[in-house]
Amino acid sequence: MKKRIFGSILAVSVTVLAASLVLTVGVLHGYFQDRILAELIRSTAYIAQGVEEGGLAYLNSGLPGDSRITWVAADGTVLYDNWEDPADMENHAQRQEIREALTLGKGTAARYSDTLSQKTVYYALRLSDGSVLRSSDTQYAVWVMVLQVLQPVALMALLAALLALWLSGRVARQLVEPINAIDLNDPDADSAYEELAPLLSRIRGQSRQIQRQLLDLQQRRDEFAAITENMSEGLILIDQETRILSCNSAALRLLAADGPAVEGESVLTLNREAGFRRCVEESLAGRPWEALLERDDDCRRIMASPVERDGSPAGAVLIVLDVTEKERRDRLRREFTANVSHELKTPLTSILGTAEILENGLVRPQDISHFAGNIHREAQRLIDLVNDIIKLSRLDEGGHMAQWETVDLYALAGAVESQLAAAAESKQVTMTLEGGPAQVRGVPQILEEILYNLCDNAVAYNRPGGSVTVTVSAGAAEVQVQVRDTGMGIPPDARQRVFERFCRVDKSHSTPGTGLGLSIVKHGAAYLGGRVKLESEVGVGSTFTLIFPAAPENT
């Protein structure tokens, strides 16, 4: 802008300067011409008087001034010329000024010389005898005059231009200064030129609007961040160059990234496992992809979906889920199915084999009862197993079982003990019941099942001559039943697994059982709102503690 103003001012001043120069020269030239003509008229009239009186002799006696004087007769013949020999000169009758003088009494004409650098002005006057006296004077042409004054004029023009340069620079600066001084962040409409006021107030309005929108955007961003931060799933947005656009802390935690996520960095700085890389690659190529990342005991599912904008891939959304628990349950379920089929098949194979032998009559009559007993035992095992599975699946499904009642665990434990008395006696295990009445709310069948399973195990896995102690104690809020045995104990690494289905610490299966007992205990207790604790020492014995919330009447 400053440049432009400067340029314009300079151009205007130079143009004005040039124009005034041309005008001045034009005016001066006209003035000079008039002056010359007036002079010519004056001197011609004077000489004419002399010629009228003295004739040719006057002319030959010497003339004042340096003008060219020509005397032409009425027929155009040159009678006298003070510059050239009249004999050499042609007839002048056709010259414009002569013709005019002959007809009108006086005539003027101006002619340029051959080189155009000079202009000759003629004035002719008719004398009383009809002859014409002409005088002429030369004058330089306008451009020669200009050329002659060029040097001083150029010097002047240069000075003027310099002045214009300086002045226009200064003026331009002064003009622009208030505009430069405007604070664009908060323009004050009154501070500069009034012509700018509408623009400034517009800018001011817009800058306020931008501020508001920025604030709005920031707020929305914060909200988005707050929402994603509270997600338990990891969420990562990336662009086509794998740069992170957004990443929540759950994603960092689930991907076990060592550093914080830097927006704009590649997402591969967070994790570079093959599965993860594949997800990023495929989703950026426009194909949704899923992968499972397994690290130690953790299991993560990555779901990557491409994001499209105007039909072309623009990035991807990655969702990271913690599926450790789900994978574990799936594994358990698979194992369970495999185990169930195996456990069901074993007795069936045995029954089938025995039945075949009997069918083919390969058994001596006295042995038939032994074989039948075998079939009976295996069938019983099958039924036990199926019963246990049914109980478990009922617990799994929850609800719909028998009514909830207030149950005295002490009485229930006594009943269980008497059921197991025979088995205990055959294993030479003494059973004792300690404590006192303790009421809980629960389903009697399930509670009995739990206690029975625990006591049954305590007897079955005991050593001959060992003991099983059941202690029922009622606290203010909780009721505890402790079943302590003096059996083989459970090694530490198996303590978690014993509650899993079909888990048998004793791999040889020398002790009868379905492997589902403790699983039923655990699920049953959980169903009734209680829990099981296990303490054990190998070779010394195990203590299972059932903890139930006390019945409301008890408190």
Partner: protein, 214 residues
């Protein structure tokens, strides 16, 4: 112009990460193939090696293009020249991982007799992971931790050597097994050296001084 340059630099970094990750895959697959005698993993290590060869050429092209077209200076120049050096180390790691994977067809780590080769394989895998992580995050401390780990790997190598000598001395029929395991140990030791080189180049591109001292 500068913008294109930055984008290309970023791409270089991402490609280096991918190459590093492929390298980690190769060594960890090879190490697991060795320890678990799993042929699927061995094949994976060999695949990763081929992938690494391809990536090396790609990154090399990118580096040369950057050097010629953008004429980088200062840190950018260091980063690119370090990348050029790093990729050859990464590629070598891949080659040696593939060599180990191939050896797993003929050799099994004995249950007893050479307990330290297992430890060595694990230590070397961790070294490669750390060296890759150090340039992923430009982490100087992690890079320096890699040099220290290399001392341990070298010590483990000596130990493994002694164990293998003892193994052969105890029973001459172990000779072939022992020699193959010696090769594996040597490869592991070399991989450790390459991981150290990578870490050194990371330090160079961060500080401008190569730790080898010249």
């Amino acid at each position: 112009m500068r913008n294109t340059f930055n984008e290309q630099l970023e791409r270089l970094h991402v490609e280096l990460i991918q190459m590093g990750a492929a390298c980690e895959d190769a060594i960890s697959s090879a190490a697991e193939a060795l320890l678990k005698n799993d042929q699927t993993l061995a094949r994976r290590a060999e695949e990763a090696e081929r992938e690494l060869d391809r990536q090396e050429r790609e990154v090399e092209n990118l580096c040369l293009k950057l050097l010629l077209q953008q004429q980088p200076v200062a840190r950018d120049l260091r980063e690119i020249s370090a990348a050029l050096k790093m990729i050859s180390d990464l590629e070598r790691i891949g080659d040696q991982a593939a060599d180990i994977a191939e050896l797993t067809r003929y050799v099994q780590v004995p249950q007893s007799g050479a307990p330290h080769i297992r430890e060595m394989a694990e230590a070397v895998t961790a070294m490669v992971t750390d060296s890759v992580s150090s340039f992923v995050r430009w982490d100087l401390d992690l890079a320096r931790a890699v040099y220290r780990a290399d001392d341990r790997v070298d010590a483990l190598f000596d130990q493994v050597k002694q164990e293998l000598i003892a193994l052969i001395a105890a029973d001459a029929s172990n000779g072939e097994q022992g020699l193959e395991l010696m090769m594996v140990a040597k490869y592991l030791e070399r991989i450790g050296d390459h991981a150290t080189n990578v870490a050194e180049w990371v330090e160079y591109s961060i500080t401008g001084v190569h730790p080898s001292g010249n």
